[in-house]
Amino acid sequence: MSAVAANFDHERVAGGGAEHVGRQHSRRRQMLLHALTLSLSLFAMFPFIWTVASSLKTPSELVLFPPPLFPYAPQWGNYLELWSVVPFGRWLWNSLVFTLVGTLGSVVSATLVAYSFARFKYPGRDVFFMITLATIMLPVEITIIPQYILFFNIGWIDTLLPLIVPQWLGGGAFNIFLIRQFIMALPRDLDEAALVDGASYLQTLWYVLLPLCVPALATAAIITAIANWDAFLGPFIFLNTKDNLVLAVGIREFQSVGAATGGAVVGGLRRDHLLMAAATLMTLPVILLFFACQRYFVRGAVMSGIKG
């Protein structure tokens, strides 16, 4: 499968394709393909557009039938209302801490472990590595009950610790795998030279290998950050006070507000516009991250495919 990675050339996808001019593409075929791709893109994007548009409508506009595509006058105030109705700022802060501190720990820890797997010889190494990979398969359900009991007994329930600390201890099988593969592809002479010059292992890792691993580290960081930001089940089980929730769990508050009154109507007003605004705010950072780091997403996809 490494051949696949070697052949993958993202510039080529991006449009060039001079070698294909030879093959005859009729203009009509091109047009048809464009029409098809464009309509598929629209189909993929429409739920977003609809959500953003809905988040800017007034509550009474939301129940109009037929529904207007765009709000009569965009209600930017909906986004401010979020902050006053629920502890939105707290949730955002908690989500950010969980995402950033967790991701940092995950990448640091995975790098150390990957270095161990990639560059050192010791009894049991390959077995440990296989075990690491096997953990990808495990469903959370199998470990979460004992974890809950453990965290309950050490007083970590309703804090971010159960979500963050495990990431500092191991960093996740996928990240370990990703970084290990990357280090293994670097010539060994690099670290040999540093070690002969008297550098310690840690110095070799930090000054010689890490600067070369930046693409792998960035990919691991992005994938982990998104997973943390999205995580629902863990936060849902480990957090319970309203102020301590993260966005993914907190957003449900709007839903239950609606459900409690049997029809998403509170005090004569629907709260769905807030639900839409919250969903938009939760999705926005991920989309921005994607635009900022597209090539790392692509690389991550391809690198994860290598092990197939």
Binding site: L33, M137, T143, I237, R252, A279, A301
Partner: protein, 315 residues
Amino acid sequence: MARQVGIAAAFSSLGPPGSRARREAIAGYVFLLPWAIGFTLFVAGPLVASAVLSFTAFDVARPPRFIGLENYINAFTTDDRFIDSLKLTFFYAIVSVPLALFGSLMLAMLLNQRLRGTSFYRTFFFLPSLTPAVAVAILWTWLLQPDVGLFNYLLSLVGIQGPKWLGSTEWAMPSLIVIALWTGIGGNRMMIFLAGLQGVPQELYDAADMDGAGTLQRFRHITLPMISPTMFFNLVLGVIAALKVFTVAFIATQGGPAFSTWFITLHIWSQAFKYLEMGYASALAWLFTLILLVLTAVQFKVAKRWVYYEGEDAR
């Protein structure tokens, strides 16, 4: 004492004191330490603990009471939800995974046409897969809202009175599958297929053209076999992910209506954290894990028959 002897023995097997090999091994273990601690505390320990708990009745308030195989027997006899939830979960996976793989492959083939603006399209095809699961559930609940939702509005334009979608026993499962396809078609899956497609040597296609093969034949006899490793990779991960489905269903339907979307993960969650039947939930979790393991092993076994690795027959 015994432990010290064990460690000393282990170290002496690494080579003479002060040797390069020995220093390297010790350093290797030191770098492995974060993983070893985390794995022991948060994976291996819990695995053993839940195995032990699965043979007990445990409701958190009182200490666990050993009851032998009762939990496992109950799962298949008195629990009328367990088997049903497995059936629903499998149905969901069997329908959604092949469709998501097929759709992603089609998108990858479209992107592989090297149309102008491909990077643009790629972005559009990537975003649904990146949407947080909670947001996905909210967004689609709104689109499928029975009274003022966009779907039923569009249906009303052609004179169809739309169903209650997520609120109907008949349509809740198909709705969840449609949602799964919106997030599951494109994204990483598509990129992995695209990498696979670009790894197919052009000579093969040229040779096929010379032999006068049509588009479908080229796809069937060249593209499919050549990308079968990619297909296998996406299939294995896709099946595992689909069987673990939780968040979208939990938010969009809460397993309902009338348990029509009561997936196995929802069942385990409710036994553990709603009814505090932690022993029973552990037994269910173990059964679920074993099913995942066996299923993955079977897929690897069957893969030998249909996955083609280039260069394998040359050896």
